[in-house]
């Protein structure tokens, strides 16, 4: 009993620190890349190439004044950012980062991931509701609607992967891709999953909830200091998790042309993250009606078509 417990704790520690660090540096990477895309330098004052910027940001945020508005609902107001950060962290428990490295493995891992995604909606709804601010409430409601609509598309895309692999465990799914990444046989599903991931992480071109031109900052308008940081870091953890899921589900996980291992997983994750940043700084934002129409009339039917084709090919 002693040995597996120790192994579990080490694995959990590595994953938590790794992902929190990755999220912090992802913020820097995004700002740097945004700078290059717009022909400016990005942060370059704190440390060499701005490498200490995340640390500086953290220190600044921790020492900020804590503001809880008297007219907001105190406990729910404090609970909301916590929910966002925790729900973003949860899927990490079942992601296999390397052939023999995952915090734990359960035989319904994909459902667990979906459950965490569906509970994340509460952070947004409660944050918007508890702030007692018009922008927050409208932003919260919109986000909730967006997240639930694209959650269905995401779930339907996942069913295609389950059909191919015959298992809900991410470890088995990666193992099934040793010879052929699901990117190729599940290309339609991959596209649906990719698009719904942008929407689930609330990133451009689906960053309607915080559309600054119309809603100030959406559901986190009234949040400051560490509470704001939780929303912010939650979004970046969400990105890391999304990239990890994409890698494990469609890009062959730890497999690569040579020796399989964590390096392939990390490389693929980095590419997916680069894609997400690239898209954000390239495309304009959708309108809310366009977003809903796209989700319900294009993505969901597309995912079902993908399922039908996959099923027929498998039974052939």
């Amino acid at each position: 009993m002693n040995h597996p417990l120790l192994g579990f704790l080490t694995a959990a520690g590595i994953v938590f620190f790794g992902v929190l660090g990755a999220a912090a540096y992802l913020v820097l990477a995004e700002r740097k890349l945004a700078g290059y895309f717009q022909e400016r330098y990005g942060p370059n004052r704190v440390g060499p190439f701005g490498l200490l910027q995340p640390l500086a940001d953290l220190i600044k945020l921790v020492f900020k004044e804590e503001v809880v508005f008297p007219q907001s609902n105190r406990w729910l107001y404090l609970l909301a950012p916590g929910i966002i950060a925790v729900m973003a962290l949860l899927p990490l428990a079942v992601i296999p980062f390397a052939p023999h490295f995952a915090v734990t493995d359960i035989n319904v891992a994909l459902l667990y991931v979906l459950a965490a995604a569906s509970l994340g909606t509460y952070g947004v709804l409660l944050g918007g509701w508890a702030s007692n601010n018009k922008y927050s409430l409208i932003g919260g409601l919109r986000t909730a609607n967006q997240m639930i609509s694209y959650e269905i598309a995401m779930a339907l895309a996942l069913v295609g992967v389950v059909l191919m692999a015959g298992s809900l465990s991410l470890k088995d799914i990666v193992a099934a891709q040793q010879h052929l990444w699901y990117l190729i046989p599940q290309f339609l599903g991959f596209v649906v999953f990719l698009v719904s991931m942008f929407a689930e992480t609330n990133r451009a071109p689906f960053d309607l909830p915080e559309a600054e031109a119309e809603l100030v900052a959406g559901y986190h308008t009234e949040y400051s200091s560490m509470k704001f940081a939780m929303f912010f870091v939650g979004e970046y953890i969400h990105m890391v998790v999304a990239a990890a899921l994409m890698t494990a589900l469609y890009l062959g996980g730890w497999y690569g042309p040579w020796k399989p291992g964590f390096h392939w997983f990390a490389l693929k994750m980095a590419l997916v993250l680069y894609l997400m940043i690239w898209v954000r700084w390239t495309y304009p934002r959708f309108r809310f009606d366009q977003l809903m129409r796209f989700g319900w009339k294009v993505l969901i039917p597309l995912a079902l078509v993908n399922l039908g084709i996959t099923g027929l090919v498998l039974l052939r």
Binding site: A12, F16, L20, V62, K64, E65, E66, V67, F69, P70, Q71, L78, P81, G82, A85, V86, L89, L90, L92, A93, V94, V103, T104, D105, I106, L110, L111, S118, N132, N133, K134, L137, I138, L141, A144, I148, S149, E151, I152, A155, L156, V159, V162, L168, T221, E222, S225, M226, K227, A229, M230, D289, M292, R293, K297, L304, L307, G311, L314, L315
Partner: protein, 118 residues
């Protein structure tokens, strides 16, 4: 069951991380004085007008309702996907009937403009 126990511990650690970071900020924060307008809700620098509790468009509710139904459908698809190879073409036909019946509902929503958002 061991895997679920580890999962539970993982969840607790995640919660602890959130609590510690937010608690740290509460300990280290700068203490300010509540001054008149400082604690008012933000409304583009103006004094807030009225209440945020307007009635929202019923479309939000409708989308949430249709979402539940499609969520249930998607969850029925998971066990189906797990055993399709084993159960063969019959299960495929069964699921096609199931999905087609639900798609009738989708078509109805489409025709009635329920997923149209204007």
């Amino acid at each position: 069951m061991g895997a679920y126990l580890s999962l539970a511990v993982f969840v607790l650690v995640a919660v602890a991380i959130a609590l510690v970071t937010m608690g740290l900020a509460i300990i280290l924060r700068k203490r300010g004085r509540p001054e008149g307008e400082k604690y008012q809700n933000y409304e583009c620098g103006e004094v807030p007008q009225g209440t945020p509790w307007i009635r929202f468009h019923a479309g939000y509710y409708l989308v949430a309702l249709i979402f539940i139904l499609f969520d249930v459908e998607a969850l029925f698809l998971f066990p189906w996907a797990l055993t399709l190879k084993h159960l063969g073409i019959l299960a495929f036909v069964e699921m096609t009937v199931f999905v087609v019946i639900l798609l009738l509902g989708w078509l109805y929503a489409y025709k009635k403009g329920a997923i149209e958002w204007v």
